[in-house]
């Protein structure tokens, strides 16, 4: 969905840890986080 924001491991799963998001990418990051079915992604301002 947004490879410039979310790093994926060799199997294609998202790499865990904190991600800093550029201002321009905030909307995309928000949509990415909201699409995680397991609700594993949290957004902090």
């Amino acid at each position: 969905m947004a490879p410039q924001i979310f790093d994926l491991d060799d199997e294609g799963y998202i790499v865990d840890g904190d991600i800093s998001v550029a201002e321009d990418d905030e909307k995309t990051a928000w949509r990415g986080a909201k699409s995680c079915p397991e609700r594993a992604l949290l957004i902090e301002k």
């Binding site: 060799d10 199997e11 294609g12 799963y13 949509r31 909201k34």
Partner: protein, 408 residues
């Protein structure tokens, strides 16, 4: 309702929390021409967040029913209190062994998921996509060249899903019809057909294991035979439990999802045209169709007494988390009964939630999306064939039969 009244309700269940809804016996759950069992199940949102249904498993057991998506997540993310070890398959034979990893609890569960996840990871599914698309095109081309009508389930959805599954097992298509028959008997058969199918499937898995043990190839069973957990090889029963789950989980569910999706599109020509005109919409549309027409209910067993917002769940009680109910929760989805093929933030639970989230979800999604893409590319505006009515049913695994489409 007499059948329900005759069913004893455990004494700890407060009478005002006994509901008459059941995924097996409520209106719309029996095989119904032109039915909509998922919408019929959503009536529970008019009632309390949790109630007791006295007849809510195939063998007539009572379960608590959790209606709110948020509460279902609480249950599904707490395997310590709500175990998934029910031996649902083995119990049909009067035996007690788990399907793996579904019926294992942490920490053993995690070891098997770590072993199996890479086999069905997003990356692996990308590698399978070419074969998936080739198969879909082949089947639909055959349908398109032989007329202007077909039974989607028989001619496309099942042969497609079963072929991908057999490929995974390293087997050819020769026995495809046989496999479909076994899966059908197992999931939807009566009290004679189910144990018979269970025995047949076990014999088949055991036999395949023996063959691969003698002559390993590059396939799933050979992988299991070589694999190690905690520095030891898998036991025969573990190999069987894993093989059986793959069989049960991979066939019927994908075929049903494709059936429900094409049933919806056949009745909504404008939406069908929109997707056909702009296939990039199919990805989101498939998610919405999974939200609206999921097929599975998760059942957990309480491992201890739990006070669930004041409701007394006792150790041993069954707790049902039905995907079709969570997915129509108005607290999570605006206008849950409206099907909006462009819906965003669509965090539905068609693939469950928590540690047991469907292992094959990435492959299932690909099969559904590719299936719809190739279908819409090759088949012009289609509708339900006049004089026919697809039969839908509820129960343990929801499904659809005889989806006869016409594009003459």
């Amino acid at each position: 309702m007499e059948a329900l009244a005759a069913k004893p309700v455990p004494p700890h269940v407060p009478p005002h929390l006994v509901g008459d809804f059941s995924l097996f016996t409520s209106p719309g759950m029996a095989p119904t021409p032109n039915g909509d069992p998922q919408a019929a199940a959503a009536v529970v949102h008019d009632g309390p967040p949790i109630f007791y249904s006295p007849f809510n498993t195939r063998d007539g057991r009572g379960t608590w029913v959790i209606t709110r998506a948020q509460d279902q997540r609480r249950v599904l993310q707490d395997p310590e209190s709500f175990s998934s070890h029910r031996s649902i398959f083995a119990s049909a034979l009067g035996e007690n062994w788990p399907m793996i990893p579904l019926e294992l609890d942490p920490p053993d569960h995690g070891k098997f998921r770590t072993l199996l996840n890479p086999l069905l990871s997003p990356r692996r599914v990308m590698a399978l996509e070419t074969a998936v698309r080739e198969r879909a095109s082949f089947l639909i081309d055959r349908i398109a060249s032989s007329g202007t009508s077909c039974d989607v389930m028989k001619d496309f959805a099942f042969p497609f899903a079963v072929n991908i599954f057999l490929r995974f097992l390293g087997l050819s298509d020769d026995r495809l019809d046989e496999f479909v028959g076994w899966a059908n008997d197992l999931l939807h058969g009566d009290n004679v057909q189910r144990p018979a199918a269970a025995r047949t499937i076990i014999a088949f898995i055991d036999d395949l294991t023996a063959q691969r043990r003698a002559e390993p190839v590059d396939d799933f069973m050979s992988f299991l035979i070589k694999a190690e957990i905690d520095g030891r090889p898998l036991t025969d029963l573990e190999i069987r439990g894993t093989g059986v789950l793959l069989f049960v989980a991979g066939l019927d569910t994908v075929a049903a999802a494709i059936g429900f999706a094409l049933n919806y599109l056949a009745r909504n020509p404008q939406e069908q045209e929109l997707l056909r005109g702009d296939p990039s919409r199919i990805l989101l549309a498939a998610e919405e169709l999974l939200r609206a027409y999921p097929t599975v209910q998760m059942i957990r067993v309480a491992t201890r007494d739990v006070d669930f917002d004041g409701v007394p769940i006792r150790k041993g009680d069954y707790v049902s988390c039905a995907t079709m109910i969570a997915n129509r929760d108005p607290a999570e989805f605006s206008c849950p009964h409206m099907i909006d093929l462009a819906r965003e933030d669509n965090r539905h639970t068609a693939f469950a939630y928590g540690p047991h989230r469907c292992l094959g979800s990435h492959l299932a999604r690909r099969e559904i999306v590719v299936g719809l893409e190739e279908w819409l590319k090759r088949i012009p505006s289609f509708r339900i064939k006049q004089g026919t009515a697809p039969v839908t049913y509820g129960g343990h695994v929801f499904g659809i039969e005889n989806l006869i489409l016409d594009w003459s």
